[in-house]
């Protein structure tokens, strides 16, 4: 980074008025707004150094914005930079095109400056958060996700991976309150740390999910260690919860990984095994080796049956596992029980509405990086600003284009993966 504290926003747009509006709306301390009027100027600005966000007009005097977008995505340095495409009167095909090429968001002109600014600010925050991330987990002092990745990248031989999840922690913590739950998590971390061999690495993935990396261990060894870990956890008497009849239990998923393999994939497999173990027995045994897709599920909360039918059909065709609820309460309960890889929330629902579910999810640190898409109706564009302010990653206007929706879902899922493998 040229200057890690300073965010650079590149606006490639030939209309001086829009340039002006954006520079006013986006300007903030610690931000630099770089204006480019042509694709050529844009390229040279990108070459100058790190850019944190690109706003790209599709129609440029010297090129089609899509060409630039595709160039940008193929260059290593800029592959992960968020790009917001801006254009007037876009046909759905062009939209889909842009998403397929890797745009993060799409803004139609004339745009509502405030809405756009909210969207951009949110993306910048995400970006900044990713950069701030260090290698250790602030709560437990264990490694964090990035730390685990770094550790795994040093291994040269086959190693074992275990994901340890405390059972029903979502419900517990709602009862206990966040600070007390955090203390419990810390206590578990200490216990695990004392138990495992020196050369193993222990990290926290978020919430009450821990990961264990066991270099040199085969499946049998990791399984043994994990069984021990499960016993240890069961013996913990949370000092914070005196008087309450609480017994902690954990479900552990185990897998072996090759060096050089993306850690995230192994973690996914392990998580999937936990999921299977819970689904099959509702018990806390270690899942045995099985093959199958290693990704999690997409959680959909939508009360309109017909929209839900269309949505599910489309997502399932993409090979995604989808769990759908027709109200916010049940969807939230399910999310607490089993963290999905992506959440799609309708704004209007009986009981808890989409905003309330979103707010609760964002309060839970396990969900800090789970993408959330809001479904909102035409004529309720004010909801969009609110959704971004509350931490949504994207929105879909109803009536919606299923193709566009699945493009956005795929985009968010791959972004999540590449961001966490940084």
């Amino acid at each position: 980074m040229t200057d890690p504290d300073r965010q650079r926003i590149l606006v490639i747009e030939d209309d001086p008025e829009i340039q002006h509006i954006l520079s006013v709306m986006l300007s903030d301390e610690g931000r630099e707004i770089v204006a480019a009027e042509t694709a050529a100027e844009g390229r040279s600005a990108l070459g100058d150094g790190d850019v944190d966000l690109v706003v790209l007009d599709l129609i440029l005097p010297d090129a089609d914005g899509r060409t630039l977008l595709s160039e940008l995505r193929h260059a290593r340095a800029t592959a992960a930079v968020p790009v917001v495409v801006m254009t007037a009167r876009a046909a759905p095909e062009i939209r889909q095109d842009c998403y397929a090429l890797g745009a993060d968001s799409f803004v139609e002109k004339p745009f509502d400056p405030e809405e756009l600014a909210a969207d951009l600010n949110r993306r910048l925050e995400l970006q900044a958060a990713a950069e701030r991330a260090t290698l250790s987990d602030p709560v437990t002092g264990l490694l964090n996700h990035a730390g685990l990745e770094a550790e795994a990248s040093t291994y040269t031989a086959v190693y074992g991976v275990a994901v340890i999840q405390l059972d029903g922690f979502g419900e517990h913590s709602e009862r206990w309150g966040w600070d007390r739950s955090e203390k419990v998590v810390q206590q578990v971390a200490v216990a695990l740390r004392q138990m495992i061999p020196e050369e193993f690495a222990l990290g926290r993935l978020g919430g009450a999910d821990f990961a264990l990396l066991a270099p040199g261990a085969d499946l049998e060894v990791v399984t043994l260690v994990s069984e021990e870990a499960r016993r240890i956890i069961r013996d913990i008497e949370p000092s914070e919860l005196q008087g309450e009849d609480v017994s902690l239990t954990a479900t552990i998923g185990v897998v072996t990984a090759e060096p050089g393999e993306a850690l995230e994939e192994s973690l996914d497999v392990a998580r999937h095994r936990i999921f299977q173990a819970r689904a099959a027995k509702g018990d806390h045994v270690i899942a045995q080796e099985e093959t199958g897709p290693a990704s999690g599920h997409v959680l959909v909360a939508e009360d309109d049956e017909i929209s839900a039918t269309i949505l599910l059909h489309r997502l399932e065709k993409e090979g995604l596992e989808v769990v759908r609820f027709d109200n916010g309460q049940d969807a939230y309960a399910s999310a607490m029980d089993e963290v999905p890889v992506l959440v799609i929330l309708d704004v209007k629902m009986p009981g808890l509405d989409g905003f309330e579910v979103l707010e609760r999810l964002r309060k839970d640190h396990r969900f800090s990086s789970i993408p959330v898409i809001m479904l909102t109706s035409m004529g309720q564009e004010a909801d969009i600003v609110r959704a971004f302010r509350m931490g949504a990653d994207d929105y879909i206007l109803k009536p919606f284009s299923p193709t566009e929706l699945s493009a956005r879902v795929r985009r968010l899922l791959t972004r999540g993966r590449s961001a966490s493998s940084l």
């Binding site: 109200n327 209007k348 509405d353």
Partner: protein
């Protein structure tokens, strides 16, 4: 007793008969009008969904004004359900009418209410507003916390803080259909001179309510409530529907109705000197509109829009009917100038006389009729054939009217899916005339009497709850 008295009783019997024929004639006529209107409506219901027409922006923003008095048990759930209505742009203004329980605290906790500033847009006189709160989590939710002043006073307070061109007056415990606003706003789109629109109310007793929505419709267990289900079907499907077809709507129920803010404010808001503020407002809107020559259409949308809990005990029901009758009387005497006055068009010449002679004086005539019939029969002066024939006609006619309401329901909405419920409605139609009808007459006569007696007590109506609350005033 002298012959003169007997003759007078004989004449009176004929008066009662005339009244009876007239009343049922009107009922039959409105049923027929309703039949045509509902048949057309049934077609639309089957084929046309206006959601996309209305939700695609351009629909007027609406404020839901929900007065709440001692609703601590249900208020959070009710508000949650109000917030999940399908409508592009609306605010919820809950008006706490000086509750003595924890209504405000419950709402504050559930929705993180915090003090906000909102200056009034009108200055209708009301009891003092103590504070205005707004939700941190739901930006469209406001609470107006005021001293107790009755429902009309609470509505006026809400109206003072209403920023939207259209508002919806409702009871805090009404359960709205998710599409209630979308359906009922249509007259406001089609006709810019619309000042008010009402819809059909249903009885929630016996139904399953989940997350503030009615999910399964069944008849209630309680017989009194069952009679009221039938009564509501008759009143809304056969009665108001028919009056609406004549373009002479005189009542929009206080449990759910939408209004143009400017028109209501100009007319002076809700009257606090009557217990029938919902009807009084409609009559006044007609009157002010006619007198000032401003276009003012009042519509009735034949759509079930809200569900309401009805009383299941005789005591509470009696009090409710007493209050309705008092409200009717107060409204009609206040605006008696409109009676048979051609200046007020169909309202003055049709609807007003109907309410005045048949709905207001009717119960008294009917009760006296029972008395004089009894005297005639007991004294042995009655022609037995005639009397029994007359009774048979009365029961059969009542049955026909109620059955036609059931048939209208079957034609249009079919909200009672169980066949046993339908058969039970038939049975109720026959039973209704043997007891329920007479009890109703008795309660309404009492209402008439208390209205005549209690003129001076009109002013002191505070410290009372709304529909479901017992009254302590007189």
């Amino acid at each position: 007793m002298s012959d003169l008295v007997w003759s007078a009783i004989g004449v009176f019997n004929w008066v009662v008969l005339t009244y009876f024929v007239l009343l049922n004639g009107v009922y039959l006529a409105t049923s027929l009008f309703a039949f045509g209107a509902l048949r057309r409506y049934a077609l639309r219901l089957r084929s046309l969904d206006l959601t996309d027409l209305i939700t695609s922006a351009g629909a007027p923003p609406i404020s839901l004004i929900a007065p709440a008095y001692n609703e601590e048990v249900t208020c959070v759930e009710s508000v949650r359900s109000l917030l999940s209505i399908e409508y592009p742009d609306y605010e919820v203004l809950v008006v706490n009418d000086g509750s003595s329980d924890d209504t405000v605290a419950r709402l504050t906790e559930a929705f993180q209410l915090e003090p906000a500033s909102r200056i009034p847009t009108a200055s209708l006189p009301t009891a003092e507003v103590k504070q205005v709160l707004r939700s941190r989590t739901q930006p469209s939710l406001w609470l107006i916390d005021k001293d107790n002043g009755g429902k009309a006073d609470a509505l006026n307070a809400g109206l003072n803080f209403c920023y939207t061109p259209v508002f919806c007056a409702m009871d805090a415990d009404s359960i709205l259909e998710p599409q209630a606003l979308i359906r009922i706003v249509r007259p406001f789109l089609e006709d810019d001179s619309t000042v008010a629109a009402g819809g059909i109310l249903r009885i929630a007793n016996g139904c399953t309510v989940e997350r503030g929505r009615v999910t399964e419709v069944r008849l209630p267990e309680n017989l009194l409530a069952q009679f009221q289900v039938l009564e509501y079907l008759r009143v809304f499907l056969a009665g108001r529907m028919g009056w609406a077809a004549l373009d002479a709507t005189l009542i929009i129920s206080g449990a759910f109705g939408i209004f143009r803010r400017s028109a209501v404010v100009r007319a002076g808001g809700y009257a606090t000197d009557t217990v029938g503020e919902d009807m009084e407002l409609i009559v006044r809107l007609h009157r002010v509109g006619m007198e000032t020559g401003t276009p003012h259409r009042i519509h009735f949308v034949p759509d079930p829009v809200a569900w309401t809990e009805c009383p299941e005990s005789v005591r509470v029901l009696a009090r409710q009917r007493d209050r309705w009758q008092r409200g009717l009387l107060q409204t009609l005497t206040k605006h008696r100038k409109m009676l048979l006055n051609p200046k007020y068009g169909r309202v003055g010449m049709l609807a007003f006389p109907y309410f005045f002679f048949l709905e207001m004086l009717g119960p008294v005539i009917e009760l006296l009729g029972y008395v004089s019939f009894t005297i005639t029969i007991v004294s042995g002066r009655a022609d037995w054939y005639l009397v029994s024939a007359f009774l048979a006609v009365a029961v059969a006619l009542g049955g026909v009217l109620s059955l036609s309401a059931v048939a209208l329901e079957e034609l249009s909405f079919r909200r009672y899916p169980r066949i046993s419920d339908l058969l039970r409605l038939f049975g109720l139609a026959a039973l209704e005339n043997l007891g329920y009808r007479q009890a109703n007459t008795w309660w309404r006569v009492q209402g008439t009497l208390s209205a005549l007696r209690g003129k001076q007590s009109w002013g002191k109506m505070t410290r009372k709850g709304f529909d479901t609350q017992p009254e302590t005033g007189d």
